[in-house]
């Protein structure tokens, strides 16, 4: 069976005649309703010089108001087309401009075939190479290089041949092997859906034939994986529901559940239409395993003899999708299949110049940039190389505060370093250590502006705890910068790393059974949330020492505000950098109040 649904991404800008080409394909395959065609014959864009009664093909494809106003395509639109051999084509129509690279990446991420438009009157342009680079990176299988507007150059074979040979070296460099140069005139429909006498020198397929006759089989590789979306618990039934990617899972297969590595046999593949002998690539099913080993949402089922080794460090190509740049050391949610873990980007090896393929050094990734990065996850996760199967080797990064999808990653390979480090379990644990001291281990995290009184309150609280016989320790931001954190500055990234290190140290200390008082400006909400996420429920209390900025500036115990005012400290919180007030602090104390009173409140609240 041939793959029933083919997905196509179209790359190019309005000037290349992209909308006209797609509009024509849709109309000539009978895929547009007649009233929609009628509208495209009567409605006109401002400045349009298309004759009344003719179809403005571009109106069939540009949907959003802003796009019609500006006459450009700014987001991906999806269209279905009925192919004559019973297959279905879903077209993802992507914008071509450089500032919409991310939209093009979205469209390419699911596409099997790319249609790259080249305007014969303008030749190869930077964006042609950019689109080829993206398609190659996203592993689009087949590339149609469509040379359009040949009617405007007298259907000249020489121009067609010249453009083809100009592009060939780039295709070779990118390792693209399945491609075809196709001459067309979208305006008149030559060689789009029907062959044309205007190209007597061309004997290849029409564009439609090239797409429609793609010989891909429905199932190819055989390293199947099912990510558990949910555990189906019905009466006397327990099954693992998910979709198979990358091969076929059959009844009787020996499988492992990852990351636990529990082994089992596939006893049944249960569906509404009865038990099935197998589930093919991209099929939704419910597995019943024998024995019924433990598995939860996000776990992965693979064949026992070719299972992935879960890892917590990977190298990956990362596309940055958000207007705010990537922050090194900041924890994002990583979503792969139905699995969610915390993850940080630990290094950026290079950023790709998508116009010429060069590798350049960079300290961050901005919107639309693509870089090769190293990434570390909170816990091991089964991800395989994107090159082997795009559905089993991708992930997205989500900002913890805005919940936006900020990055999209393609796994190169896992970094085995982590495999050599495994957690040792000791018999004496945190509870045992704390109980021995007659206390409950916890962290009180003081955040607030410089000069708000964090250290003062922490100092007074610790004296009180000491008198009560509670073993505590103060982690003071300034003191730590003299040693552990002396390599860090005050940029947003360095502050994220500062918070990460301090929270890890606090975590070790609570594990030792201590009460930890942290006095740290920690101006960013995301970083504080990340710190909190390390601890168990109730183990971490965020205390906002709220002191008006004027008071802090007035106090200025370290003379920092004076320096900042003189322009010597560009990243001073409250001056050059913002302070994000906590939105759900466990306690807010007024830093202008009497210290003893504040200590009493803290004792009443947390001890």
């Amino acid at each position: 069976m041939l793959k029933p649904i083919i997905r196509l991404v179209t790359c190019g800008s309005v000037d290349d005649g992209k909308s006209t080409l797609i509009g024509r394909l849709l109309v000539e395959t009978d895929s547009v309703p007649s009233d929609t065609i009628l509208a495209a014959q009567t409605v006109r864009r401002t400045g349009s010089n298309i004759k009344a009664g003719d179809i403005d093909f571009s109106l069939l494809t540009d949907g959003l108001e802003a796009e019609r106003e500006q006459g450009i395509t700014i987001d991906v639109a999806y269209r279905s087309m009925f192919l004559k051999n019973g297959r279905r084509l879903i077209i993802a129509d992507a914008p071509g401009h450089e500032q919409y690279t991310r939209n093009m990446v979205v469209a390419a991420s699911r596409s099997d075939i790319a249609l790259i438009l080249i305007d014969a009157t303008r030749g190869i342009r930077t964006q042609t190479l950019r689109h080829l680079t993206i398609c190659s990176l996203l592993k689009v299988t087949r590339i149609a290089l469509v040379i359009n507007k040949l009617d405007a150059v007298g259907f000249d074979e020489g121009i067609f041949n010249q453009l083809s040979s100009e592009l060939k070296p780039s295709l070779d460099r990118l390792g693209i092997t399945d491609f075809e140069f196709i001459p067309v005139s979208a305006l008149a429909g030559d060689n789009v859906a029907r062959s044309s006498e205007n190209f007597p020198w061309y004997s290849g397929p029409t564009l439609l034939e090239y797409v429609q006759e793609w010989p891909a089989e429905a199932t190819v590789a055989n390293a199947p994986r099912l990510t558990v979306q949910m555990v189906n618990r019905a009466d006397n039934f327990r099954g693992l529901s998910g979709t198979v990617f990358g091969g076929v899972i059959r009844q009787g297969d020996e499988v492992v559940v990852l990351p636990s590595r529990a082994k089992a046999t596939v006893a049944r593949l249960v569906t509404f239409d009865g038990d099935q002998p197998e589930a093919a690539d991209q099929t939704a099913t419910t597995l019943v395993l024998e024995p019924d080993v433990d598995a939860t949402r996000g776990d992965v089922v693979e064949l026992a003899d070719r299972a992935t080794i879960p890892a917590d460090r990977f190298s990956a190509n990362l596309v940055w999708l958000n207007e705010s740049e990537l922050i090194h050391s900041r924890s994002y949610f990583l979503i792969a299949g139905s699995k969610q873990v915390g993850a940080i980007v630990t290094s950026i090896r290079h950023v790709l110049n998508i116009n010429n393929g060069d590798h350049e050094s960079a300290r961050t990734l901005q919107a639309n940039e693509i870089g090769l990065v190293e990434i570390a996850t909170d816990s091991p996760i089964a991800l395989s190389p994107y090159a082997a199967n795009r559905f089993n080797g991708n992930f997205i990064l989500v900002d913890r505060l805005t919940m936006e999808t900020v990055g999209a990653g393609m796994i190169e390979h896992s970094l085995r370093r982590s495999g050599n480090v495994s957690e040792q379990r000791y018999a004496i644990d945190q509870t045992a250590r704390a109980t021995q001291k007659g206390q409950v281990a916890k962290v009180i995290w003081f955040t607030g502006l410089s000069g708000s009184g964090k250290s003062t309150v922490a100092n007074a609280l610790e004296q009180k705890l000491f008198d009560l016989g509670i073993h505590s320790y103060v982690l003071d931001g300034d003191n730590l910068r003299l040693g552990l954190n002396k390599d860090l500055g005050f940029t947003e990234e360095d502050r994220a790393e500062n918070v990460r290190r301090v929270s890890e140290v606090a975590h070790l200390m609570t594990d030792a059974g201590l009460v930890v008082l942290v006095a740290l400006v920690s101006p960013f909400e995301r970083d504080r949330k990340q710190a909190k996420a390390l601890f168990a429920e109730g183990e971490f209390a965020e205390v906002w020492v709220k002191t008006p900025a004027e008071v802090c500036v007035e106090r200025d115990p370290k003379g920092l505000y004076k320096k900042a005012a003189a322009g010597q400290l560009p990243n001073m919180t409250g001056v050059g950098q913002g302070y994000e007030a906590p939105t759900d602090a466990d306690l807010v104390i007024d830093g202008t109040m009497d210290v003893a009173e504040n200590v009493d409140r803290l004792l009443a609240e947390f001890f």
Binding site: D35, L64, E65, D75, V270, T286, I396
Partner: protein, 301 residues
């Protein structure tokens, strides 16, 4: 030559994946049930997705009080047959103010009884995700919408700030103000929906099949007179015409088509021949070229 069932099976698997993801990733998801053919398909897919278990979420119908009587009876029968946890919501404030398509006009009436009714129901029950049967082939702005589509505070859709959606990796995370709309039928076409109904023997409302029904002409559109509330012109009487519906909505706003198609095969055949877009029979959409995008910006599904 590929069998078209292969296409349907591929679409089905993907829809099931989306439904499972919604059920598992959200605290309190709900499925919108409009009683139409797409809703019938969506319900069928939900039964498949969670088999042998039951559909794990509530099913919500926003009743404008102007639906066809045959829709309401079909809804109640379906809920009974499939053992659905059905919730019916009516914007009572709108009813008290006498909102109707005749007093307010089509657009305002739709905003009050449908859009506001939906927003009330979602807020009142604290649903964080709502599954709907919209398809990308229905309308231009739908063609651009994500499968998992975020609504900001006030259920507002901002088409220019959509999250990027790659591969089949979905981002179900929400901030406190946001809710999600989920469209498992995004890639289906109207033709697919009917073919699937046939292959899977799915029950749909009898209004889709031709029958002599009392109706009047308004302009060139045929409107069924479903009850005594419909204002007839002086001296006018409803006439029996052999008609059926391509989409179902509020009866005064949903035009019928003259048709002799009384079986599924005939309906499918007619669809192939007629080739008008589905929403051509919806009175409200014609108000303005881009009206769907505007309605969605206000919180319409």
């Amino acid at each position: 030559m590929n069998d078209k069932r292969d296409v349907l099976r591929a679409l089905e698997s993907e829809s099931i994946e989306i439904l499972r993801e919604t059920a598992a990733a959200f605290k309190n998801p709900v499925m919108l049930y409009s009683i139409g053919k797409d809703s019938s398909v969506l319900l069928h897919l939900a039964r498949k997705a969670f088999y042998p278990g039951n559909i794990p979420f509530k099913v919500l119908h926003v009743d404008t009080t102007w639906k066809f009587q045959e829709m309401i009876s079909f809804r109640d029968q379906t809920a009974k047959d499939l053992n659905l946890d059905l919730l019916v919501h009516i914007n009572e404030a709108g009813v008290a103010e006498g909102a109707s398509p005749f007093t307010l006009g089509a657009s305002e009436y739709t905003r009050v009884m449908k859009t506001m009714g939906l927003r009330q129901a979602l807020d009142q029950h604290g649903f964080d995700a709502a599954i709907g049967g919209s398809r990308r082939d229905e309308e231009k702005s739908r063609a651009k919408e994500r499968i998992f589509s975020v609504r900001e505070a006030g259920h507002r859709w901002d088409p220019r700030a959509q999250r990027q959606e790659l591969w089949r990796t979905y981002n179900p995370r929400l901030t406190a103000d946001q809710t999600m709309r989920v469209f498992p039928l995004s890639d289906w076409t109207e033709q697919d929906v009917w073919d699937y109904i046939k292959f899977e023997s799915i029950e749909v409302s009898p209004l889709y099949f031709a029958k002599p029904r009392p109706s009047v002409l308004r302009g060139h559109q045929i409107i069924m007179v479903d009850d005594e509330r419909y204002p007839l012109l002086p001296g006018e009487a409803a006439e029996l015409r052999l008609i059926r519906f391509r989409t179902l909505g509020c009866y005064p706003l949903t035009a019928a088509v003259e048709s002799t198609a009384t079986t599924l095969d005939e309906v499918i055949q007619e669809l192939r021949e007629v080739k008008l877009s589905e929403r051509a029979t919806r009175l409200i959409d014609g108000d303005k070229e881009v009206s769907m995008e505007q309605k969605k910006a206000e919180g319409y599904f």
